[in-house]
Amino acid sequence: MAERSGEHRADVLVSCLHDRAPELIPALEEEVKRRGLEGEVKVVEAGCRGFCAMGPVLLIKPDDIFYVGVQPADVPELVEETLVKGRVVDRLTYREPTTHACIVHCEDIPFYSKQVRIVLRHCGLVNPQSIEDYIAAGGYQALAKVLAEMTPEEVIEVVKKSGLRGRGGAGFSTGRKWEAGRKAEGEPKYMLVNGDEGDPNCFMDRALMEADPHSILEGMIIGAYAVGAHEGYFYIPFEHTLSVKSVRNAIEQAQEYGLLGEDILGSGFDFDVKLRLGAHSFVGGESTALMHAVEGKASEPRPKHIHTTEAGVWDKPSCLNNVKTLNIVPEIITRGADWYASIGTETSKGTQVFSLAGKVNNVGLAEVPMGITVRELVFDVGGGIPNGHEFKALQIGGPSGGFLPVDLLDMPMDYETLAEAGSMMGTGGVIIADDRTCVIDTARYFLGFLQRQSCGKCAPCREGVKRMHEILTRITEGEGEMADLDVLKALGEAVKATSLCGLGKSAPNPVLSTLRYFRDEYVAHIRDGKCPAGVCKALITYQINADNCTGCGLCLRKCPQEAISGEKKEPHVIDQEKCIKCGVCFDVCRFDAVDVV
């Protein structure tokens, strides 16, 4: 057992370091020691608090003082003022972006105040490397309750009643999956965890594995008990080094405490977990591809005429769940199915963890009730669009999700509504586009990604996605034809209908949704030869507006091509022959004198 530090008065929880200040924790520990606060104050490296844009962040308990962007140089003042004298250091607190008022407590920050943290309940609060912290926070109590008081059927019933749906993207009822797993014939049965998060810009699964691995393990053991599995695999791409370290350590600790292994807590139930590392790929998180990888084969999907719950790993009944799904289970057991079912919408229960990226102020992870509107997510939790730009679209569901336009700002976000709108919940990856983002260029980027990630086994995905990518590339280069739009639509629908696995079935979403909501942008690109967002290089030119130009010379100095000329205090001009359209002049100009035409 880890050495106990005994009674102390304050915890300093450090989160969202992300390599930005590796010296911060040693500096804090050093200063605490120097001031003779050892044994009084404990410094804890806690997992991600989701507010990555503001990291490193510090939460000081029990006073709940929240500091953002803390650097090692701030440590002496912070320790002196807050930990010795109990005063708040104003300059380290979060500032409200418009009024610049100091916000001392994190629950008062708009980013946190709309959140309901169930999945992320321990993130930033417990030390992920310490099973003792997890147990002290109430961990493994749900497992104890399940083993002591409940039959597997009762567990399945509770999970079914809670309305929990798989958080890996498809949104299938977890209780029904477990029920199918329980009923499946054949021995041995396997319980698997999917830790292969493939969407670019998404990091909730990784953050969870890093910040709270024990909750996933606890849910996994409960799941294994429910389906009747005695062996399990935790699958993580080896590239997620911190997740691997964190989960490996958690498995070892659970084994040492006898929470994994034979006769868990004297119940007679045996279950053990092996860590399986694979190479990261987008399709690798698909259930059958993942099971192939667990077997040691290439990670390619197979047709699912027979469900994996009946014949999965080595053709044995296998139950695969996403890390977030399993992490929620102990909380449902502890607090009851009715409690969970009371959060969210009619069909989508509970909360969803969104990873916010793109043109939004608060890049990070936010957990909100299902059914939150796009507007609340972008403007309240996300803090709006940076640099005074306009919101244009929200792309949700990972690379194969769809774009939602401004008109849908008040749409509630749940599985069904999103699917109707031509997008999907996916794992909750959200990318926000502003008026300077070209949706066609972004769709082209995603299709390129999906084409590279396609395993190539089935023709619709291998060929269809490639063709769509080629057409989009042509359009962004100014070589599109109006007939392309019909081809794109037909091709997209065919790929969607005929692909083997979820990758191909959803890959056309970015194209089909932009065709549906942003058709005028396609027309502008093809017929008018213009990119309204000013992104597609073949369709734009940068010009200096002589009326606004003060001749300050900033763009002239910054231009990498030396394409700008002009006398001081006289309007400058851009030599279009030399210009590579990098946009530096546009970005640096302080007088709005550079136009994109």
């Binding site: 057992m1 106990r4 530090s5 005994g6 009674e7 102390h8 008065r9 304050a10 915890d11 929880l13 003779g36 009084e40 404990k42 308990k61 029990p62 006073d63 930990l83 010795v84 004298k85 109990g86 005063r87 609060l125 417990v126 003792e132 912290d133 147990i135 002290a136 926070a137 109430g138 493994y140 109590q141 104890a144 083993l147 002591a148 040492e256 405490y257 006898g258 929470l259 292994g261 807590l265 004297g266």
Partner: protein, 123 residues
């Protein structure tokens, strides 16, 4: 490390570990120690250590926090105790040797130690 053999062993372990985690859990009792220069000079640090030791010895669930000088420097070390919605009681001249009696009477028996009280703020 011994393996956990039963539910009871898990509960026992949890109880043992909770002390370490106390600052991060909710509690209705907060003990505030004045830790300005005046407080420290008068021995507030020793007082606080004594409080922490006493809380641990008696397994009392309470948060201990520090504040700066509130202006009543002659009465330092000042210790405030607030329980739930009860009035916040301020005690003066609480040197470390007085801590066991303070904790015993106020937190265990629930009686305010009137002779040491220097102030009260409604809860």
């Amino acid at each position: 490390m011994p393996k956990l053999k039963s539910l009871e062993e898990l509960q026992k372990l949890r109880q043992q570990l909770q002390g370490d985690f106390k600052a991060r859990t909710e509690t209705s009792t907060t003990i505030t120690v004045g830790m300005g220069t005046c407080g420290i000079a008068a021995g507030a640090r020793e007082t606080m250590h004594a409080i922490l030791a006493e809380l641990e010895a008696r397994s009392i669930d309470a948060h201990v926090t520090t504040v700066g000088c509130i202006g009543m420097c002659s009465k330092e070390p000042l210790v405030d105790i607030q329980q739930g919605d009860e009035p916040r009681i301020t005690y003066g001249n609480i040197t470390s040797d007085l801590v066991p009696r303070l904790i015993e009477e106020h937190l265990i028996q629930g009686n305010v130690v009137e002779e040491w009280v220097v102030g009260r703020v409604a809860g």
